[in-house]
């Protein structure tokens, strides 16, 4: 059994998992002139939560379920070499979730950014909890599910950390990039907290669905912005 504080550790923006260097598409949106102030940030965060956030929550929850099953099977195998559970399906499910995210991420730059953050999160997970050393190259939502499982967290908590992370990252970037009032920015995050919880509950309820039925919401401007951003000569954020 795990307490709420473990979730706070995982969802803390100061967790050394590489998040601070990514703006979640905000730097590109600011540069294009579409985002200048708190009102613009509010719209950006709502849009991001409804698309990237919904997908992240769904895949983090699904990966958490699969990773928990794999961990339980490994523990059984350690205790009893004849353990009957075939966990190959669950191991394959983690690979399939990764492929599902590839299919939902047309922009190569966003795919790279997701894998870079997944790799950093798994590094933190290995150092902090007992994450399988073989898990190194995963999309961020899948990595989040794997690390949450290692931390003993249930799928709904993996999902809420994922949903919240998709808005807290760009919110923090907006404070640094635009000098927005940090109280105003955190008010926006507080307003979105209920929606994060709702998305997480939905994600947990559907964590066993076939991958083709998991959310596939698209944010074309984030995709296009990421491609433009990746080709800038000078940028402050990695994505």
């Amino acid at each position: 059994m795990t307490g709420l504080a473990t979730l706070l550790v995982l969802a803390d923006g100061r967790l050394p998992a590489g998040g601070h260097a990514h703006s979640g598409g905000l730097e590109a949106a600011v540069s294009s002139g579409r985002l200048r102030d708190l009102a613009g940030l509010s719209g950006f965060l709502r849009g991001r939560l409804a698309t990237t956030g919904r997908i992240t929550a769904a895949f983090a929850a699904a990966a958490c379920v699969a990773a928990r099953t794999v961990r339980a099977a490994d523990a059984d195998a350690d205790a009893d070499a004849d353990a009957g559970h075939d966990d190959a399906l669950d191991r394959h499910r983690l690979d399939a979730l990764d492929e599902g995210l590839d299919a939902r991420t047309p922009s190569p730059a966003l795919r790279r950014a997701s894998r870079v953050q997944g790799r950093a999160l798994l590094r933190a997970g290995r150092a902090i909890w007992s994450v399988d050393p073989a898990q190194r190259d995963r999309h961020h939502p899948v990595a989040l599910g794997i690390v949450a499982a290692a931390a003993g967290l249930p799928p709904a908590e993996a999902a809420v950390a994922g949903a919240y992370g998709t808005v807290s990252g760009p919110a923090s970037a907006a404070v640094r990039l635009l000098g927005l009032d940090p109280y105003g920015v955190h008010s926006l995050l507080a307003e979105l907290a209920g929606e994060c919880d709702r998305l997480a509950a939905l994600a947990a309820a559907r964590a066993g669905d076939p991958i083709d039925l998991l959310p596939a919401d698209s944010a074309p401007l984030l995709e296009i912005g990421a491609e433009v951003h990746a080709n800038w000569e000078v940028r402050l954020f990695a994505s």
Binding site: R14, G18, H20, A21, A120, A173, E233, L236, F237, A238
Partner: protein
């Protein structure tokens, strides 16, 4: 005026307690924080069967000459060591481009890390992107002797995490004012080597090097300080010698026996 000798070393003592500890005869004198105890974690490398390279961080305020020092070290050490560089400039590739333009290191030996407006976060609070960059270099290039990690320009409190580097150099310059060593801060007080750069500018900006030497010694105790002018010494000989002294004695480096001569 320039202090003489250039290396200010407090007492110059070199007490390591009872543990065996060999030093090359030409090694720059140094001290260890906890005599008799090796403060470093065992070296592990992502390249199987090898030890990981020594990592040296180079930090300091904006414009103090960090990138120029890295370029000088590449010129001095590039032919004798298997060397790679990670840069953390806030503008993504500015420093990496400088090193490439100056031709001091091939492109495949340089990685640039984005820091999201927070250079000190990337070298201290969340070192994951830098660790990834170091490991990428090792995997793509094979075993390395030395990785230099250059911080983006920051402030006097920005130091490297010990989880990222084994040793760190802090670079300040005389044009920043001769009061900088007296101000202290973790960079000046705790870096393994303090470099006071651009001494050739001292007469032009009215900086008193003897004041800087005295204040550095007061702030740093036994830790060494080097006065440097890359105009007079384009390969940063004193600093390069100090870096050589950090490396384990080996004879299998590129091109056979290491050339440990200034």
């Amino acid at each position: 005026m320039r202090p003489d000798p250039q290396v200010q070393n407090g007492t110059g003592s070199h007490d390591h307690g009872t543990g065996p500890h060999e030093h090359a005869v030409d090694e720059v004198p140094h001290t260890h924080p906890d005599p008799g105890v090796d403060p470093h974690a065992p070296l592990t490398s992502p390249v199987p069967g090898t030890t990981r390279p020594v990592r040296v961080g180079i930090g300091g305020p904006v414009g103090s000459g960090k990138t120029a020092l890295v370029a000088a070290l590449c010129r001095a050490l590039g032919d004798e060591l298997r060397l790679a560089v990670v840069t953390n400039d806030i503008y993504t590739t500015e420093d990496a481009d400088f090193l490439l333009r100056n031709g001091v290191l091939p492109a495949d030996r340089i990685r640039a890390v984005e820091t999201g407006c927070c250079p000190h976060t990337a070298i201290r609070d969340d070192i994951s992107a830098n660790l990834d960059a170091v490991e990428d270099l090792e995997v793509s290039l094979g075993p390395l002797d030395l990785v230099l990690v250059e911080s983006g320009g920051d402030n006097l409190t920005a130091t490297f995490s010990r989880g990222l580097v084994d040793h760190q150099i802090f670079v300040v310059d005389v044009a920043g004012g001769d009061k900088v060593p007296r101000k202290g801060g973790p960079g000046v007080t705790s870096a393994d080597l303090l470099v006071i750069n651009k001494t050739d500018l001292a007469p032009l900006v009215g900086a008193d090097l003897s004041v800087m030497a005295r204040d550095s010694a007061a702030r740093r105790g036994d830790l060494p300080t080097v006065f440097l002018s890359l105009v007079d010494d384009p390969v940063a000989g004193m600093v390069a010698d100090w870096v050589r002294g950090l490396l384990p004695a080996r004879t299998d480096r590129r091109g056979g026996p290491a050339k440990l001569v200034p």
